[in-house]
């Protein structure tokens, strides 16, 4: 009956939310710090040297600003949205499939980029990205981005695979055995976009222009492909560490993944590499966004500035296998990252990447698209064998 | 004639404990046979050996001439009335009684008819629908009896069947058991630690001590002619007299009721104390350093404690014992 208790407490939190009011007033100047800042973040995103001594981008900030950093980690975008809906946080490192939902739900507030001196150093291609800029208003500061690469076992693939078809179509792999049961896929609904991206390249007659903007036919084709994939996938991945274990012990040889897992497995000496195949890839681009009712706005602004100006961009890029939103961080020696490392993590592939964004009904490329809630329920169905 | 039960050099050891130690025993067909002894004397183990709950360590057991080694209880045509009755709490009375018939595949109507008959036999007609919890101790005892008898066993084993009943009910059940046994002609083997029960019901009695049989005989034999100090003492609390008290060179027994007061002659004795038992008065005497029990009819006046009296007995009441255990 764990679930009942859990739901019960969650519900109490939801009820307490009813009294909240919406404060959208943008700050015009940054005052003295409030003493702390509470951040919802992906695991591994905010390190204070506790996991590995050389990866620390929090301690100095705390010393300089006087703002103590508290972190609540979340494993999926949906979880981040839920946490932000509950309230009690100042900032969130939201991915593109969460950011628009947060903006539409009025859980985040506009950010005054004039108060962030290092804004000018942000990659120009990210400054006005549609997942955090709505009607010209910025709702956050780009944090970090990266591709969803195809991770593979180099003993099975002598040559890097050139297409995502190794995880979508049944085929014989380099070792003469079928790929059935030896490939994985992400268990979040956003994986539907990976299928759409594959179709966009290989079935041009469907007319897909954007994997996040699908009409009913395109959507049905993507689900069809995923149902075919279900026959190949024994278990979907959800937790990065379980995926790594599956590559080690479960005989998995190929899967969409993050540079994070690739780098860790490589560092353990396993025959693992990654590639961005010809179809390109989906990717994530995370944005530091500020809660509509942030209790510590001054510390929040200080943190946002810190994310752009300090060693964070450079060291986090090494740590997480991601690409900095501040290109200078790759080369100016503020941290451990260098130009080569940024390229490995995907800097050069920016144009091949379709960044996660929340699918909505009123989309730009066609009349009407299938909205995200359908993605959620249908993807549960696909995994369930429907 | 074959015996109902025969033991040949049967032993049952539990580790180093010799619960039954080299026992030879014959129980005749149609006999009402009692196994009497203090607790731990091996009598219950003997009963369980007959039922098949225990297997002998050595020796042979035959039931109606057939060796039963390795035969499980459910294949022996022998039934047991347990000390705690062991009625099935989840079954109605009628289903308890019909249990043995059910497991043998007798149809429902037939077995209920037979069970009803058995209940009538133990004077509980119409109790079939009740649950065991709704019955008194005496009634449960009768149900246990009916449940065993309905199977028409050739030997019925009773383990302290009256132990949990009060005095009045006990006497009534003793009588009923006795007449039931006569009417049915089944061999009854029952275990008891109560010598009164054994004496009043049994055709023959085996007295057990420390895993061995001390004496087998009719109640009168056992009572009047105990073969050992143990039997004399255990059955009826005889006075056990050492060889030099009687000058016969052997241990002997003297029944308390055989001692009488006399005005002249006999032996002098001092009254240590006395107690009133209802129909009799027990007087404890000290005669030449030998403690003696005497039973006087209550109609006679009891002597004062501390008084000196004279006592006598007939020489034939002194029973010499060959076995000095």
């Amino acid at each position: 009956m764990k679930s009942i208790l859990k739901a019960g407490t969650a519900m109490a939190l939801i009820l307490s939310m009813a009294g909240q009011t919406f404060a959208a007033e943008m700050l015009t100047s940054v005052g003295a710090g409030e003493g702390s800042v509470v951040i919802v973040a992906w695991p591994g995103y905010i390190e204070r040297g506790e996991t590995d001594k050389s990866f620390d981008w929090v301690t100095k900030f705390e010393e300089q600003s006087g703002c103590q950093v508290q972190v609540k980690t979340a494993n999926t975008s949906d979880e981040m949205v839920a946490l932000m809906n509950e309230g009690g946080f100042d900032l969130v490192t939201a991915s593109g499939d969460a950011s628009l939902r947060l903006i539409a739900g009025k859980r985040v507030q506009p950010v005054n980029v004039d108060l962030i001196p290092s804004w000018s150093t942000v990659d120009d291609r990210l400054k006005n990205a549609p997942w955090h800029t709505v009607d010209g208003v910025h709702y956050g500061v780009p944090y970090m981005w990266g591709p969803n690469v195809l991770m593979y076992n180099t003993e099975v693939f002598k040559e890097p695979p050139t297409s995502w078809n190794v995880v979508f179509e049944e085929m014989e792999l380099g070792d003469g055995k079928s790929n059935k049961g030896r490939v994985q896929a992400y268990d979040g609904p956003i994986h539907i976009a990976d299928a759409a991206n594959y179709l966009m390249h290989n079935k041009p007659e469907l007319g897909i222009q954007n994997p996040y903007e699908l009409n009913a036919d395109q959507y049905a084709a993507a689900l069809g492909l995923l149902r075919q994939q279900r026959k190949l996938v024994s278990r979907y991945w959800h937790d990065a560490f379980i995926q790594m274990d599956d590559f080690k012990n479960e005989g998995v040889v190929a899967s969409g993944s993050w540079p994070f897992q690739v780098n860790l497995l490589k560092s353990e000496g396993l025959p693992i590499a990654s590639v961005i195949p010809q179809e390109g890839a989906t990717g994530w681009a995370d944005t530091t966004m500020m809660h509509a009712d942030a209790a510590n706005p001054n510390c929040a602004y200080m943190w946002m500035e810190h994310t752009l100006s300090s060693n964070l961009q450079s060291d986090l890029s090494v740590w997480f296998g991601a690409v900095p939103s501040v290109p200078a961080a790759c080369t100016d020696g503020r941290g451990m990252q260098n130009a080569e490392g940024c390229d490995i993590n995907g800097l050069k592939d920016f144009d091949k990447i379709k960044f996660w964004t929340t699918p909505v009904s009123s989309c730009g490329s066609q009349d009407e698209c299938i909205p995200y809630y359908r993605w959620v329920s249908d993807y549960i169905g696909v995994i369930g064998g429907r | 004639m074959t015996n109902a039960v025969s033991f040949t050099a049967v032993s049952r050891h539990f580790g180093s404990v010799r619960a039954v130690d080299d026992v030879d025993l014959e129980i005749g067909e149609g006999e009402f046979f009692a196994m009497l002894g203090p607790s731990g004397s091996g009598k219950t183990t003997c009963l369980r050996l007959i039922a098949g709950f225990e297997q002998p360590t050595s020796g042979q057991i035959r039931i109606f001439g057939e060796a039963v080694e390795g035969i499980p209880p459910y294949r022996r045509n022998v039934n047991t009335v347990f000390q705690d009755y062991a009625l099935f709490p989840h079954l109605r009375i009628i289903d308890n009684v019909a249990y043995g018939l059910m497991v043998r595949g007798v149809g429902r109507a037939e077995r209920h008819r037979l069970a009803e008959e058995a209940l009538a036999l133990v004077e509980l007609p119409g109790y079939g629908d009740r649950r065991t919890g709704q019955l008194s101790g005496g009634q449960r005892q009768r149900v246990a009896l009916a449940r065993a008898l309905v199977n028409k066993p050739r030997v019925l084993l009773l383990d302290e069947p009256l132990g949990a009943l009060d005095q009045k009910l006990r006497e009534q059940m003793q009588e009923e058991l006795k007449s039931l046994q006569k009417a049915l002609g089944i061999t009854f083997v029952f275990v008891t630690h109560d010598q009164g029960e054994a004496l009043s019901m049994a055709d023959r009695i085996a007295v057990f001590n420390q895993g061995r049989i001390m004496q087998v005989g009719s109640p009168e034999d056992i009572y009047r002619r105990p073969n050992s100090r143990f039997v004399a003492d255990f059955v009826g609390a005889s006075n056990v007299l050492p060889p030099d008290f009687t000058g016969t060179g052997k241990w002997s027994s003297l029944r308390p009721e055989a001692i009488r007061l006399t005005s002249s002659g006999g032996k002098p004795a001092r009254v240590a104390w006395h107690s009133f038992l209802g129909g009799q008065t027990r007087v404890v005497l000290d005669s030449q350093g030998q403690r003696l029990n005497m039973l006087l009819p209550s109609t006679e006046p009891a002597p004062q404690d501390g008084a000196t009296v004279r006592i006598r007995w007939n020489d034939q009441d002194i029973h010499l014992m060959d076995d000095d255990r």
Binding site: S3, M11, D78, R101, S234, R386 | G52, F82, H90
Partner: protein
């Protein structure tokens, strides 16, 4: 002269003495005093949250913003019966039933041995053996099982050593129960559920068997019942309350669990995961609440049926 004790000893000094005297005279008041705090706890905290949960299931969600629409509606319940969600319900209930049946089958002989034959030191060993897995972390156990069942795990290695790989492969070929390896099959999920919840079946069954006097079993044999008949007609009916108590544990724990099927299995959701996914990650509290109502309802029906079957008569 001897000093004699007074017939009535004097009152204990102070308010405590006064209080204990008056409580002794008013046992009902004492009972009320003792029961009020737990009843308040149970009534307000537990039932209160349960009803709040029930109420939530009649709300619906605005799927895009993830905010809850507090208009009473049956929309959420209708959603429960779309094929994908119905699959989850059927999957979970079947798994819970299988786990319960298997747990009863495995627990019975173990419990029987413990109740009948184990004495002294062996009994201690038995309790330790049963309880020991309960002391270690649940997650550690589940991850350990992932390693045991993995394609390159201990079990596969052992099967290979025994030259039985063909047998395991044939089994894994089977539809539904099979899969690429045990760790990604329903069989794997089932085995881990069975392992984790087994103590909750053994202990009540053992307690119920312990209360069956040895003489009942002997009596049954004495009356002509072969061991199988004794099991069917005496032992099982008398152990039934224990089995039912144990099955309430195994059944409801399996219904509610969301960790095991996430780590071991084929990624197909169970009710617990659906609840977790909908309330924890998607913020869809109404659908999560509706999902949660299902196990509550099923357990209610189960207990009612067990009562009708007389499972609690012997209590």
């Amino acid at each position: 002269m001897t000093v004699q004790a007074a017939i009535v000893s004097p009152k204990r000094v102070g308010p405590a003495g006064e209080l204990s005297d008056s409580l002794w005279r008013n046992p009902r008041f004492l009972l009320l005093l003792l029961l009020t705090p737990p009843l308040l706890w149970l009534g307000v905290i537990y039932l209160g949250s349960l009803f709040a949960l029930l109420a939530q299931s009649f709300f619906s969600i605005d799927e895009f913003s993830g905010l809850i629409n507090r208009e009473p509606t049956l929309k959420t319940y209708r959603e429960l019966f779309v094929p994908a969600n119905l699959d989850i319900l059927i999957r979970t209930v079947s798994m819970a039933a299988m786990v319960t049946i298997a747990a009863a089958a495995v627990a019975f002989p173990v419990a029987y041995f413990a109740a009948r034959y184990a004495t002294g030191r062996w009994k201690a060993v038995f309790y330790l053996g049963i309880m020991l897995p309960l002391w270690s972390s649940y997650l550690v156990k589940v991850y350990a099982w992932k390693l045991i069942l993995a394609k390159e795990g201990i079990l596969n290695w052992l099967v290979g050593k025994l030259h039985l790989t063909w047998l395991l492969d044939a089994y894994l070929q089977a539809p539904l129960i099979g899969g690429n390896s045990l760790s990604v099959s329903y069989t794997g999920t089932f085995l881990v559920f069975l392992y984790v919840w087994l103590p909750f079946m053994i202990l009540p069954v053992q307690a119920s068997l312990e209360r069956v006097p040895a003489s009942l079993i002997e009596a049954s044999g004495d009356l002509g019942a072969a061991p199988g008949q004794t099991l069917r007609h005496v032992l099982l009916p008398l152990a039934l309350p224990g089995i039912v108590a144990g099955s309430i544990f195994t059944f409801s724990l399996t219904l509610g669990d969301y960790i095991i099927p996430q780590i071991i299995g084929s990624s197909r959701l169970f009710i617990g995961q659906a609840v977790y996914a909908h309330q924890g990650t998607a913020g869809n509290i109404p659908l999560a609440a509706a999902f949660t109502v299902v196990p509550v309802l099923i357990m209610g029906i189960y207990l009612y049926a067990a009562k009708r079957l007389g499972a609690f008569d012997a209590l």
